[in-house]
Amino acid sequence: MSDRLTQLQDVVNQLADHLCNATGVLQNTARPSPFLNFDRSGLPERNQLQPESDYSRLFSTLITRTATELIALIDSLPSVPSSTTTTTTTTMPSLQQQQLELLEAENHLATKKLEETTQLAEYLLEKVQTCLQSLSHGILDERKKYQDTEK
């Protein structure tokens, strides 16, 4: 499932393919047209008309379907504001550029906040670890004293 612009490009190429194939196939499968004032050697067979009309109907359906797909895809594109067409050198930053700069600044702020919170968490972790250490030392010392007094 590719993005809309790639789909659009594919449908345009598909339309070109259909147009080329239609002319080629119809030209190949067409009945020979009669020359004026010329005696024909044999009568053309009538049942050859059927596949020709099938082909022309098939290709007309294909081409119209591809064209409607193309129109539908074009309609589904989001509207592009004219300020983003920076094909000429403009000094005014476009709306998109402003949004990007704003987002970058917000991202920096969020990163700083996350870093601060991480530092706080690390500090708290250190404190809790030292507390646990001193607690475990105290418990061990008490146990040793108790064992010594028991002996």
């Binding site: 081409i63 074009i74 067409t85 987002l103 969020a110 990163t111 906040k113 919170t117």
Partner: protein, 190 residues
């Protein structure tokens, strides 16, 4: 993997040798290479990317621009689509009716060749219009990525902060319960 059987190689291609040589256990992975400035080689041809104009204009390629309003993308794309279809019908008409009529404007081309050239031009224009939308799409993608990153960072820091608050609460309650126990112990000792 390659130590035991040097003949065997992995299914994946090796990374660039310059990258491997610069990497070692002490140093971290090297920084990504800086963006290239100036012309570079692409599939044998030299490409010069212009930052102001990422898509080369039709004028620079000596191709006629058929659409009139470059701002109204959707309208122009639809008009081009319909023009292609009408020109194709004209071509079919020319090919089926006339034999090898010379074009009025360009006598060296036949009418069908001129019609083909017109259809070709329309297709080139429609592709060029689609390509012009690509930088806008790239900027939009960048904006969405930045937005997602920001949301993720804010959520993570908020979650971490709430966890820290809970930890502090648990520690405080532990200290209070310890304080309650200590007077009992001093009473027992006494």
């Amino acid at each position: 993997m390659g130590d035991q059987a040097p003949v065997l190689s992995s299914a994946f291609p090796l990374p660039p040798m310059a990258y491997i040589e610069r990497f070692s256990d002490e140093t971290k992975a090297p920084k990504p290479p800086a963006p290239i400035v100036g012309p570079f080689e692409l599939f044998g041809a030299y490409v010069n990317l212009n930052e102001q104009d990422p898509i080369p204009t039709l004028e620079s390629q000596n191709i006629q621009r058929v659409y009139t309003k470059p701002d109204d993308y959707k309208g122009e794309l639809k008009k081009l689509c319909f023009s292609i279809l009408t020109n194709y019908l004209d071509l079919l008409h020319i090919v089926s009716k006339s034999s090898n009529v010379q074009a009025k404007d360009a006598p060296e081309l036949s009418l069908r060749e001129q019609k083909l050239a017109e259809i070709d031009l329309l297709f080139v224009n429609i592709h060029h219009l689609i390509n012009e939308l690509r930088p806008h799409q790239a900027r939009e993608t960048l904006r969405v990525i930045l937005e997602e990153q920001k949301q993720q960072r804010v959520k993570t820091s908020e979650k971490l902060y709430s966890f820290l608050n809970r930890i502090v609460d648990v520690l405080n309650s532990a200290v209070y319960s310890l304080n309650d126990l200590v007077p009992q112990l001093t009473e027992e000792q006494n």
